[in-house]
C-alpha cells in the first residue's frame, strides 16, 4: 500500500473512533456534531458505528478466503493458498471482535450477553466454521493436500451460509432490528432512520474498516510470503 493511503486510513479510522465515542447524543440535535437521542438505545447506539462494520468485514474476509481457495483449486498455485489462509486468519480475528462487540451490546440492550438471536447464532456458526477450518489445516502435514482440502471445506461451508439467512429467522424469534420477533415492526435502526450525520459516520466507518481489512490482509500476505521464503532457505542449507 502507498504511504499516503496508509496515513489517510489511520487518520480516517481515528476520526471515526473520536466521532463514534465523543459526539454527544442529545434530544433535538442542533449542530453537525450532535447525534440524535434514540429512545430504547440511548448511548448504546454508538456501537452501531463499530459493531456493524466489523461484522461486515468478517463476511468480506470469509468471501475472500473462499474465493482464493477456489482459485487455488483451479491453478494449484501455493500463493493462492497463502492468501486464502491470510484472509481466514484475519476473518477469525474480526469474527471474535464482532461476537464480543455484539455480546456487550446485547448485555446492555437485551439483558444478557447471549440470547441465541438468529444473527448471534449465525456469527457463532461462522466462528465454528473458522475454527473447523483451522483444525482441519492443523490435521494435515502435506502442504498441497492441506491447501486442497481446506479450500474444499471453505467452499462446502460457504454454500451452507445462505441457509442460515432463511433458516434461522424461521426457527427462532429475533431481537435484531428487522427480524420477525421484533415487536416494533422494523426495529430501531430502520425506524429512526439514522440522522444524516450519524449515517455519514456509519458509512465512513464501513469504508474505513473495509480498507483497514485490506491493509491488514496485504501485510499478512507479505509476512507469510517472507516466512515461507525464510523457511525454504533454512531447509535447503
Amino acid at each position: 500500500m502507498k504511504m499516503w493511503l496508509k496515513i489517510s486510513v489511520s487518520v480516517w479510522i481515528t476520526g471515526i473512533i473520536i466521532a463514534g465515542i465523543a459526539f454527544p447524543m442529545v434530544r433535538g440535535p442542533h449542530t453537525w456534531y450532535e447525534f440524535p437521542f434514540i429512545p430504547g438505545l440511548e448511548e448504546k447506539a454508538r456501537n452501531i458505528i463499530f459493531h456493524v462494520p466489523i461484522s461486515w468485514a468478517t463476511v468480506v474476509a470469509f468471501i475472500m478466503s473462499m474465493y482464493y481457495g477456489s482459485m487455488y483449486l483451479r491453478k494449484k498455485d501455493m500463493d493462492y493458498d497463502l492468501r486464502s489462509v491470510s484472509s481466514a486468519s484475519l476473518g477469525l480475528l474480526l469474527c471474535v471482535l464482532a461476537t464480543l462487540t455484539g455480546a456487550v451490546w446485547a448485555k446492555f440492550n437485551w439483558g444478557s450477553f447471549w440470547n441465541w438471536d438468529p444473527r448471534q447464532t449465525s456469527i457463532f456458526i461462522l466462528l465454528l466454521i473458522y475454527g473447523a477450518y483451522f483444525v482441519l489445516r492443523s490435521a494435515i502435514d502435506e502442504e498441497e493436500r492441506r491447501a486442497t482440502l481446506s479450500s474444499v471445506y471453505s467452499i462446502i461451508a460457504g454454500v451452507t451460509v445462505p441457509f442460515f439467512i432463511f433458516v434461522m429467522p424461521r426457527i427462532m424469534s429475533g431481537l435484531h432490528p428487522g427480524s420477525l420477533g421484533d415487536e416494533q415492526g422494523k426495529g430501531p435502526v430502520l425506524e429512526f432512520k439514522m440522522a444524516t450525520n450519524m449515517l455519514m459516520v456509519f458509512f465512513a466507518s464501513l469504508i474505513g474498516f473495509t480498507v483497514l481489512y485490506f491493509w491488514m490482509y496485504t501485510l499478512k500476505v507479505r509476512l507469510m510470503r517472507i516466512e515461507r521464503h525464510v523457511q525454504q532457505i533454512t531447509e535447503t542449507e
Binding site: 494449484k76 502435514d141 502435506e142 502442504e143 498441497e144 515461507r228 523457511q231 525454504q232 531447509e235
Partner: protein, 211 residues
C-alpha cells in the same frame, strides 16, 4: 498392436517444498521396457504413482497417446495396470469376487471371465480362488495383484518392485507376463533387482535430491 507413446517432460515433484526429484524426461513407444532404479527413498514409488496418474507432478508434463489420441491426464486408469506394495485388494472378498468386481466396474466383456481363469491358473492361485484374501499369504496376495492388474490387458503395465514377496514359481510367472507386455505394449517397472533390470531396454536412475 496399438500405437502408443508415453512422454514425460521435465517432471518434478516437491513435497512440502522439498525436492524429491527434478526434471525427469523420457519418451517411450510400444514394445519397450523401461526400468527405474534408485536408492531407497529416492522417489521411485512417487515417480511410479505420478506416471499412473494417482499423484500429480508439481511441475512438468506427461503425455500419453493411444493410436495417436491423447489420453487426458490423470485419467489413465482404463489403459494402465499397476502392481505395487501400497496397492491392496479388498480383504473381505475372495480372489474371484475381487476380480469380478474389477470386471464389472471396468465394464469388461464376458471374454474377461476366461482371461481371469487363465491368469489365476498362470499365477498358481486358481485352487484358492474362493478363499477370502485376508487368509492369503503375502506372496499369494502379490500374485493376485498381478491377476487384477492384467485383467483388462493394459496398454501400459507399471510394476513397483515386481518380484517382492514372490517365490521362484511366482517370479517365473511374472517374468513371462513381463515379456508378453514388452512385446504388446509398454512395460514400466521400478526395481533394484539386477535380474529384473535385464528386461529393460532403458534404465533410468533417479538421483536423490541432487540439483
Amino acid at each position: 498392436m496399438k500405437k502408443l507413446t508415453f512422454k514425460s517432460e521435465n517432471i518434478s515433484k516437491l513435497y512440502n517444498r522439498k525436492i524429491i526429484f527434478e526434471k525427469i524426461s523420457f519418451l517411450l513407444n510400444e514394445g519397450t521396457a523401461f526400468a527405474v532404479t534408485g536408492k531407497n527413498g529416492s522417489g521411485k514409488s512417487t515417480l511410479v504413482k505420478i506416471l499412473c496418474g494417482v499423484l500429480t507432478p508439481t511441475k512438468g508434463l506427461i503425455e500419453f497417446t493411444v493410436d495417436g489420441k491423447l489420453v487426458p491426464y490423470p485419467d489413465y486408469y482404463p489403459h494402465i495396470g499397476l502392481v505395487s506394495p501400497y496397492l491392496n485388494l479388498y480383504e473381505e472378498f475372495s480372489a474371484e469376487e475381487n476380480l469380478s468386481f474389477i470386471m464389472k466396474v471396468r465394464s469388461l466383456g464376458s471374454e474377461s471371465v476366461q482371461r481371469a481363469e487363465m491368469l489365476l491358473h498362470e499365477f498358481g492361485i486358481y485352487d484358492h480362488r474362493k478363499k477370502e484374501v485376508k487368509y492369503y499369504s503375502s506372496g499369494m496376495k502379490q500374485r493376485l495383484k498381478y491377476c487384477a492388474a492384467l485383467l483388462h490387458e493394459p496398454s501400459v503395465l507399471v510394476l513397483d518392485e515386481p518380484s517382492s514377496n514372490l517365490d521362484q514359481y511366482g517370479i517365473e510367472a511374472v517374468r513371462k507376463f513381463m515379456k508378453i507386455q514388452k512385446q504388446n505394449g509398454i512395460l514400466i517397472f521400478a526395481t533394484n533387482d539386477k535380474d529384473d533390470l535385464e528386461f529393460a531396454d532403458t534404465v533410468y536412475s533417479v538421483e536423490n535430491g541432487k540439483r
